[in-house]
């Protein structure tokens, strides 16, 4: 006797013991299974991946040990794929939240273009491949850190903290702070004070960056039941905490100047860029951003009262990129002129 398993579409093709009846997906109301390659790319959060690659590359280039160019390229690829895998896991796990939020409801999993189990499989395979390749191409310290950062983002942040506490992105931000440390470890096989400083910069940058967005998207988060700071503690408390973390972040950006990792170019980016960051954070503090929660359709669509929060969110990305671009230029292009009095 010939038996063929029926396929449950919403389970991503997992076979089960139901009678073997053919399913016409065109007639069914289930979401389409046909997802293109672009959906896999969207699943990896390419915009987040770009910043991760950039900071990881800066850590690798700023490290005091020159790497084989091919090994360096593979290390960066592994950081990118590892980050993408973590992003895919996040999208699969948070599909219920994403479906409610206007900002995220068009993502591949909530729309059904990629079934949830398929997204989990994709994330798992990519995670394993990136860690394995990192271990082979560089060293086990870098591979271990990559594995830890993926696990931290998936388990600690996505599965545990995100739905539990308004401190979710403060602690969870550690996952996003790992790339420069991984890059550094890939080159040197160890983690130095400079690598920890680069970690601290991104770690302390995350709260003002994420909360600025949350201030003008708090309606979205409230609808999804995510206890982001403006939802759980209110807009005023969030604006104060943005200011506090901005101070800590700017203090951390001075770290590379003390150790000598950053030269003149970095000093200008940290000084002038940091002053503008502080100015924008002060504007947010003085504003009434987030006082009237509501959801907008587009990421940059914002009410007049929330404009200061939008400006800080957008500039925070630019400032972090500027800092790491300065490090990249100084160490990659050989234009590192140390400041007088710096340890370097």
């Amino acid at each position: 006797m010939t038996t063929t398993p029926s396929i449950s579409l919403d389970q991503g093709g997992a076979a089960h013991a139901a009678p073997p009846e053919a399913i016409d997906t065109a007639a069914a109301s289930a979401p389409a299974v046909g997802s293109g390659v672009g959906d896999y790319i969207a699943l990896m959060k390419p915009r987040v991946m770009a910043l991760v690659v950039f900071t990881g590359l800066a850590g690798l280039v700023a490290a005091p040990v020159a790497m084989n160019p091919l090994s360096a390229a593979i290390a960066i690829l592994c950081i990118a794929v590892g980050a993408g895998a973590a992003g895919a896991f996040n999208m699969a796990y948070d599909a219920d939240i994403d479906a409610v939020m206007k900002r995220t409801r068009r993502r591949p999993v909530p729309t059904g273009r990629v079934p949830r189990p398929e997204a989990y499989t994709f994330a798992g395979v990519m995670s394993l491949a990136s860690v394995l390749l990192m271990g082979m191409a560089t060293n086990y310290v870098a591979a271990g850190l990559l594995a830890f950062s993926i696990a931290f983002y998936c388990v600690i942040y996505t599965m545990w903290l995100k739905r539990l506490t308004p401190q979710n992105i403060v602690i969870g931000g550690a996952a996003g702070a790992f790339p420069p440390v991984i890059g550094w470890a890939a080159a040197t096989g160890s983690v130095s004070v400079d690598a920890v400083i680069l970690f601290a910069i991104i770690f302390l940058w995350t709260p003002p960056h994420s909360w600025a967005l949350a201030l003008y998207k708090s309606g979205d988060y409230a609808a999804a039941g995510v206890p982001m700071m403006p939802v759980a503690r209110g807009a005023k408390s969030t604006r104060i905490q943005i200011l506090v973390y901005t101070g800590l972040y700017l203090a951390a950006t001075a770290g590379p100047l003390v150790t000598g990792l950053g030269g003149w170019m970095y000093a200008i980016a940290a000084g002038l860029g940091g002053a503008l960051f502080a100015l924008l954070a002060l504007r947010v503090h003085a504003s009434r951003a987030g006082d009237m929660p509501g959801a907008e359709d587009a990421l940059y669509a914002v009410r007049a009262g929330d404009k200061s929060a939008r400006d800080l969110f957008a500039y925070s990305i630019a400032h972090l990129a500027l800092l790491f671009a300065a490090l990249l230029a100084e160490h990659g292009a050989g234009v590192h002129w140390p400041l007088p009095g710096g340890a370097g």
Partner: protein, 56 residues
């Protein structure tokens, strides 16, 4: 099971079939790329170790 007796249980629309083919192509490309990267990594590591051995 005889290949001739196999009957698919899911009827896909032409668009879905096209999308599945694209996904399969992407997976195949990914696998080949992974194998190539493993090969290149092995060559780089072997060369590095060989050079280190020759220098020592």
């Amino acid at each position: 099971m005889n290949q001739d007796e196999y009957k698919p249980t899911v009827k896909l629309t032409p668009e879905q079939e096209a999308a599945r083919n694209k996904r399969n192509g992407a997976i195949a490309f990914g696998l080949v790329a992974f194998v190539v990267l493993i090969f290149l990594t092995t060559v780089v590591q072997m060369t590095s170790n060989w050079n280190a051995g020759a220098a020592g």
